[in-house]
Amino acid sequence: MTLIRLSGVSKVYRSLQGSDHIALHDLDLAIDAGEFFCLLGTSGCGKTTVLNMLAGFEQTSAGRIEVSGRAIAGPGADRGVVFQGDDSLYPWLTALGNVEFGLRMRRVARRERQERARHYIAMVGLTGQEHKHPAELSGGMKQRIQIARVLANEPDILLMDEPFGALDAQTRSVMQQELGRIWRATGKTVLFITHDIDEAVALATRIGVMYAGPASRIKATIDNRLEPHERDRTNDGFIALFRQVHGLIREEVAAATQRGAETTVHA
C-alpha cells in the first residue's frame, strides 16, 4: 500500500542575483508502508530538499506530495524527523525531557509520557542516562536520543537526513545495526537519506539512486532483499548489490565532480 507519493515534484530556488537554481525537476517516487527506503545521491543532488519538502519545512515549486492520499500542509507529528547534527536537541532539557518533548506538547499526562519516553530510551539502549543533558552525551548517544525522541511521538513515518553522517566509522556501524533492529521491531516506514552506498545496502529494503543535480530526479530504484544476517560487508549478496548500486552512482559522481570543476573555473 502506497503511503508516500511524490508526483512531478520540482523545486526551484531563486537566488539574489535573479538566476534560478533548479534543484529538482519532475521527480516521481512512491514508498509503501513499512518500507525502509534509502535515497542515495551525491552531495548537492537535492536529496535533503526531498526530505525537507516531505517534512513540510519547504514547499514544492510544482508537483504534489501526498501522505496516505492527502496533500501535506506543513510539518506534522505523523512525520518525525531525525536531523544530521545535534543542534535540534534541546540543551536545557535532560535526555528524558528531550524524548518526552513531543508528548508534552500534545498534552499527554506526565506519568504516561515518562513511561513511554523511558520505553524508547531503553529501546535505543540509553537506560540510566535519562537525567543527563545533551552536552554530557557523546555524538552517538545524542543521535540515539534524537531517534528515541521521534519514536516516542509514534509517527507513521521516520524521515532521517544522514543521521549518522557526523559519527565516526565504529559508532556509525553500531548505530546502523541498532536502527535495523529498531525498524524491524517497530515496523515504521522510513525514508533515509545518505550518500554512503554501504549504509544504504546495510539498511534499505529499497534504494533510490538520484541523478547528480541540478534538475535532479530518481535515476533508478533497486530492491534489496538481503536477509538481516546477509547484511554484512563480506557477504557475496551484499557485495553484488553494492556493485550494482555503485555502477549506477559512479557516473553521477563523475558528473558532480565535473560540474564542481566547471563552477570553480567560472568562479
Binding site: A77, F83, D87, S88, L89, Y90, W92, M105
Partner: protein
C-alpha cells in the same frame, strides 16, 4: 567541593596580593596623604560603618540600581523578544534602539535632573535608560540565534506556534537575556556613580563628592573600595544565577 575550595583560595590570594601591592605602594613608594594605605582606609570604613553612614549610602545607591535595573529588564526582555521574533517590530523599533544606544546614560544626566529632579526619579530613570537597550539587544540577538533545526524539530513533534515560542525560543534565549542583564548591571554601577557625583542628595557618588570638598581622601577610598566589592559580589551572584538556570549549556560561563 575541592573545586570550590581552590576557587575560594585563589580569590583570597588574589585579593590579599591586591591589598599587599596597595600597602607597599602607599607606605614605601608614594608617601602622600593623597594616597592612604589599606589599613587606614579599612579603619575609616569601620568608623563610618559604626556611625551608620556607610550602610546608609550603600543602601541608597543599591536601591536605585535595583529598582532601575529590574524595571529596565522588565521592559527590555519583552521588547527584545518581540524584536527578535517579528520582523515588522524589528524594523519599527530598530531606529530607537540603534539611535539611543549611542547616547550614553551619562550624557542624559542633565536632562534627567531637569525632568525628574535631584532625587530618586532622575537616578531610576538613568538606570532604566542604561539597562533597557543592552537587554533589548542581547535578547533580540538570542532569539535570532536559535538554530532553525530546534524549531523544525518542535514543529514535527507536534508543537504549535505558541508552544514553539514558549518551550523552544524562550528557553534557548535565557542565557542571552542573562548576559544582557549582567552587562547592564555593570553599566548601572557606572551610571549611578556618575549621576550621584553630578547631582544627588545621597549615595556613594555623593559621598565621594562630599569627601572631595573636605579633602577626606580616606573617605573617597572607602567609597571606591565599597564599589569594587559591591560590583564583585553582584557579578558573582549573577554568574551563579546564570550557572543555576543555564549552566549546562550556557555559552557565557
Amino acid at each position: 567541593m575541592r573545586d570550590a575550595l581552590s576557587r575560594v583560595a585563589g580569590y583570597a590570594l588574589g585579593f590579599a596580593s591586591l591589598f599587599l601591592i596597595w600597602h607597599v605602594a602607599a607606605v614605601w613608594v608614594v608617601h602622600s596623604v593623597l594616597f592612604p594605605p589599606p589599613a587606614q582606609v579599612i579603619a575609616k570604613a569601620i568608623s563610618l560603618a559604626e556611625e551608620g553612614v556607610l550602610e546608609q549610602q550603600i543602601a541608597i545607591s543599591m536601591q536605585r540600581i535595583m529598582i532601575g535595573f529590574l524595571a529596565g529588564s522588565a521592559i527590555g526582555i519583552p521588547v527584545g523578544l518581540a524584536i527578535g521574533s517579528f520582523r515588522p517590530v524589528r524594523l519599527l523599533l530598530e531606529p530607537y534602539t540603534e539611535f539611543f544606544r549611542f547616547i550614553p546614560a551619562t550624557a542624559m544626566i542633565t536632562v534627567a535632573v531637569i525632568w525628574f529632579g535631584i532625587g530618586e526619579g532622575s537616578k531610576i530613570f538613568l538606570i532604566i535608560y542604561t539597562t533597557v537597550f543592552i537587554v533589548i539587544l542581547n535578547t533580540a540577538a538570542g532569539v535570532s540565534a536559535v538554530t532553525p533545526n530546534k524549531i523544525r524539530a518542535a514543529r514535527c513533534l507536534g508543537a504549535n506556534r505558541t508552544q514553539v515560542f514558549m518551550f523552544v525560543a524562550l528557553p534557548a534565549t535565557v542565557p542571552y537575556i542573562l548576559t544582557g542583564m549582567r552587562l547592564a548591571m555593570g553599566n548601572s554601577f557606572v551610571t549611578i556613580i556618575a549621576a550621584e557625583l553630578v547631582a544627588a542628595n545621597a549615595g556613594l557618588g555623593k559621598m565621594i563628592w562630599d569627601a572631595r570638598l573636605y579633602m577626606l581622601v580616606d573617605q573617597i577610598f572607602v567609597a571606591l573600595l565599597t564599589l569594587g566589592l559591591l560590583g564583585f559580589v553582584t557579578d558573582r551572584l549573577f554568574r551563579l544565577a546564570i550557572y543555576t538556570f543555564a549552566g549546562r549549556f550556557s555559552p557565557v560561563v
